[in-house]
């Protein structure tokens, strides 16, 4: 299988502290690749560089064989990379449906009827409604986003990532702050879409990671110290050391 995303020797530091320190990473088409690591390992910094929100100091990122290292965030999104946010990042003063519709609209192509009220464009609204149905928010479409619970917001993030039609989804701790029931619901859902999308998952919930991931990379102090299947990672001495040494 070819690598959809290739990262080579990626470096980024803040005020002398290296947050990303020569990361090499391949995410293969169709796999669910998880990144784990202790707090402060630089996981979110890595995601922001992949999505384009921050520019790396050095190194290369290739997506589908094209260099995207210096590409602005919005063109990466157009090229097929989307991300969800660790801290819920939605347009709170719009309705749930509007939020997802904006994601659908982003890759809907241009229309000459650009003055037509957006809320009257049936195919966009319908597609958005479908995605919300899929993540189980079918009955909340018209609610103001600000009124939804934290768990529902996490699901919205997933719906938006899916609706944006991206080939590669960068999910930053989708389980953060969820209760056991909600976490289980999220795991079930991710299992369901596994294989249809390439997913790079950052997650603290180890049970979820080992249940979901095809491959796992371990990030410690801005470096990848191991990559492999869940079983390989479980057996890896370095990983055990890194984790046990920490806790």
């Amino acid at each position: 299988m070819a690598a959809l995303l290739e990262v080579r020797n990626l470096c980024k530091s803040f005020g002398g502290v290296a947050a990303t320190d020569g990361v090499d990473l391949d995410v293969l088409t169709g796999e669910l690749h998880a990144i784990i690591g202790p707090n402060g390992a630089g996981k979110t910094t890595l995601i922001t560089q992949l999505s384009g929100a921050q520019k790396p100091d050095s190194g290369r990122i290739r997506f589908k064989g094209h260099g995207i290292t210096r590409m602005p965030a919005y063109t990466r999104a157009k090229a097929g990379i989307t991300r969800s946010f660790q801290i819920t990042s939605l347009v709170l003063d719009m309705s749930v449906l509007d939020n997802v519709a904006l994601a659908v609209q982003a890759h809907d192509g241009h229309s000459f009827r650009f003055l037509k009220p957006a809320r009257k464009i049936a195919h966009i609204r319908d597609t958005a409604r479908d995605w919300l149905q899929q993540v189980g928010l079918g009955d909340r479409v018209d609610a103001p986003t600000s009124e939804l619970s934290h768990g529902e917001h996490r699901l919205m993030e997933i719906a938006i990532a899916l609706a944006s039609g991206a080939e590669l989804m960068l999910l930053d701790e989708p389980m953060a702050g969820l209760g056991p029931d909600e976490s289980a619901r999220m795991v079930t859902f991710l299992k369901g879409i596994k294989g249809t999308k390439t997913i790079l998952l950052i997650e603290h919930d180890m049970d979820a990671v080992f249940a979901l991931a095809d491959r796992i990379s371990v990030l410690v102090y801005g470096k990848i110290i191991a990559t492999g299947t869940p079983d390989e990672i479980r057996a890896n001495a370095d990983v055990r050391h890194a984790y046990l040494g920490e806790e």
């Binding site: 384009g52 347009v91 994601a103 609209q105 982003a106 003055l115 009257k120 938006i160």
Partner: protein, 321 residues
């Protein structure tokens, strides 16, 4: 939003009052209230244009008074040359030309300054828009030929087909119709897909970028449209007051425009109109009683910020969102 909610009825009712009341006064022989209404209507257009970026786009422009100046000078300067010679290429009283220039120059200024300003955010954006407006202010201050500090008297009003701007009633009706068109334009824009992205970027810009929207470009377009509309209001203002001075472009005027929008209620169709109406009427009313009217006026402004969330529209129709 679609169909007739309470806010739509309030909008219709207030717009009807704004149309009929000045006319009644006029036919009763009181021209003053018609001119008050005309000034109010023109400022309302400016406020509506500001609301597009400020209310819906979350871009706090502290320099919109500059566009009123551009618009007014676009009327004043060609007329000046008709009377005092020079610059034959632009010497004309043709209103279509003048209004065209007003809109064109304003759009251009908004495009250029917007391109730079939109790189910044927050208070930096507030202050850089003000800085550009101050530059325009000082520029007109320095052009001796057009009066500099003293301002420029516009000897004759724009000549337009169908309407005679020297007739106060026709000037009022033109301003009123322009206001309605401006309101409808903004409404159409914000409900379009473009407008959804603009509002999305106000709520969460990073999300819009992550979805693949070049929100910088969306904002720049909105900023340019807003500037152009405000320039149009300026051309009307020049015709209304027959006088322009750089003072009309000073930062405090931009502040007043902001106030009108907030007072009425940001991100609402009627809010800016209501805000300018109340602002102008209260100002007129208070200032005719005492030269110390800034005191109660200032207290009123503070009170509104502190106690009235969502502006007057919030009071009238309840918090819509």
């Amino acid at each position: 939003m679609i169909g007739f909610g309470k806010s739509s009825w309030v909008t219709l009712a207030i717009m009807a009052i704004l149309l009929v009341l000045p006319m009644v006064f006029y036919w009763n022989g009181n021209t003053f209230y018609l001119s008050l209404a005309t000034r109010l209507t023109i400022l309302a257009i400016a406020a509506v244009s500001l609301n597009l970026v400020l209310g819906y786009g979350g871009l706090i422009s502290f320099g919109h008074a500059a566009y009123i100046g551009f618009g007014a000078y676009a009327v004043g300067i060609p007329t000046y040359h008709v009377f005092y010679g020079g610059a034959e290429g632009i010497a004309t009283t043709n209103g279509l030309f003048q209004f065209g220039v007003a809109v064109g120059i304003s759009a251009l200024f908004a495009l250029i300054t917007g391109a730079i300003s939109l790189r910044t955010k927050g208070v930096y954006f507030i202050m850089i828009t003000m800085a550009f407006a101050q530059m325009a202010y000082y520029m007109f201050l320095s052009i001796e030929e057009y009066g500099g500090d003293d301002g420029l008297v516009i000897e004759v009003r724009s000549k337009l087909p169908l309407v005679d701007l020297d007739n106060p009633m026709e000037l009022f009706v033109l301003s009123y119709v322009s206001l309605v068109v401006a309101m409808l334009m903004v409404r159409t824009i914000i409900h379009s897909r473009f407008g959804m992205v603009l509002q999305g970027a106000k709520g969460n810009n990073e999300r819009m970028v992550t979805l693949g929207y070049n929100s910088y470009l969306y904002r720049l377009v909105a900023f340019t449209i807003s500037g152009a509309m405000c320039g149009f209001a300026g051309a009307l203002m020049g015709n209304f007051s027959s006088f322009i001075s750089p003072e009309m472009m000073a930062w405090s005027r931009s502040g007043e425009l902001m106030f009108m929008v907030i007072l009425g209620g940001t991100a609402t169709t009627l809010g800016p109109v209501l805000g300018s109406a109340v602002f102008i009427v209260v100002e007129e009313f208070m200032s005719s009683y005492t030269v110390y009217w800034h005191l109660p006026f200032g207290l009123m402004l503070i009170g509104i910020v502190l106690f009235v969330r969502g502006g007057l529209m919030g009071l009238l129709v309840g918090k819509g969102r």
